[in-house]
């Protein structure tokens, strides 16, 4: 996890903007696990995590020189991740409309070993009941982002973030059944 102070992060981003591959690598290594967690929470599938993370970071590498405020790199990166996940979910929805799926293809199970704990299984079940945009909110809160940062990432107001977060938490709580309660 990248815990570097904001100024160090800003400097690293500026180096990356000048085309320094080492800085780019440091940024990717510093954020890859956090972005992976965010992507997993948003898509609720582990088998698309690497592919989508790759798309997110490729977009990051190609667009970083256009980032105006290097200090807002994190919000910008998570916005890229959110948009990539939403595009993916839209594509999947369209594919389901245009592809004649058989009933057994509707809920493709996770690959073997993908879900290795009951807690995670329960959380995934609960997340599946929440809208993807709200899953993004919950994942960002788990990331330790403040309401203001989340508002910047999602391009909305702090008040809207608070209201949506309250609703998303309620929904998650409603559907989350810890393993010992089963």
């Amino acid at each position: 996890m990248d815990q570097s102070p904001p100024t160090a992060l800003g400097e690293r981003v500026r180096r990356a903007q000048r085309g320094d591959d080492d800085a780019l690598r440091e940024l990717i290594v510093g954020y890859q696990h956090r972005v992976a967690g965010f992507v997993f929470a948003m898509t609720n599938r582990s088998d698309v995590v690497e592919d989508l993370c790759q798309q997110v970071f490729i977009k990051m590498v190609r667009a970083i020189e256009r980032l105006q405020a290097p200090e807002q790199f994190e919000s910008w990166l998570f916005r890229l991740a959110r948009n990539t996940c939403i595009d993916h979910l839209r594509r999947m929805k369209l594919r389901r409309i245009f592809t004649p799926f058989a009933p057994e293809h509707e809920n493709v199970p996770e690959p073997d070993g993908a879900v290795d704990s009951e807690e995670l299984d329960a959380l995934r079940h609960a997340l599946a009941q929440v809208r993807p945009q709200d899953r993004a909110l919950l994942a960002l809160v788990q990331e330790g982002r403040s309401h203001a940062e989340i508002a910047v990432t999602l391009g909305t107001s702090v008040a809207a973030v608070k209201a949506r977060l309250h609703r998303a938490r309620e929904q998650l709580r409603q559907h989350y059944q810890p393993p010992h309660e089963n």
């Binding site: 929470a41 790759q54 995670l120 995934r124 788990q142």
Partner: protein, 92 residues
């Protein structure tokens, strides 16, 4: 909710485990290799545009050819009429 926090932590671990070693290098290579290549979502549009262009070319080629042939036929008809008129003038 302690178990929920534990579940989020597991989700994070599970997600991190999906990234294979050398992920950063692969990303940088792919980003550099694909710079300038049209994004994947544009490919179907490019194929559609190419097909539409081919279709338009085929239609305009057919129309030009049909119109040239019709002009040639009309010209031949008028030439024949003009020749008959000349012949008639001479006989009168």
């Amino acid at each position: 909710m302690k178990t929920e926090s534990l579940a989020w932590a597991r989700l994070q671990q599970q997600a991190a485990a999906q990234l294979h070693p050398g992920f950063a290098d692969r990303v940088i290579r792919a980003a550099r290799a694909g710079a300038g290549v049209a994004p994947q979502f544009l490919r179907p549009f490019a194929v559609c545009a190419a097909m539409a262009t081919l279709g338009l070319l085929a239609v305009s080629f057919y129309r030009v050819r049909a119109s040239t042939e019709e002009n040639a036929r009309n010209l031949a008809g008028w030439q024949e009429i003009a020749a008959q008129a000349d012949e008639l003038d001479q006989t009168l």
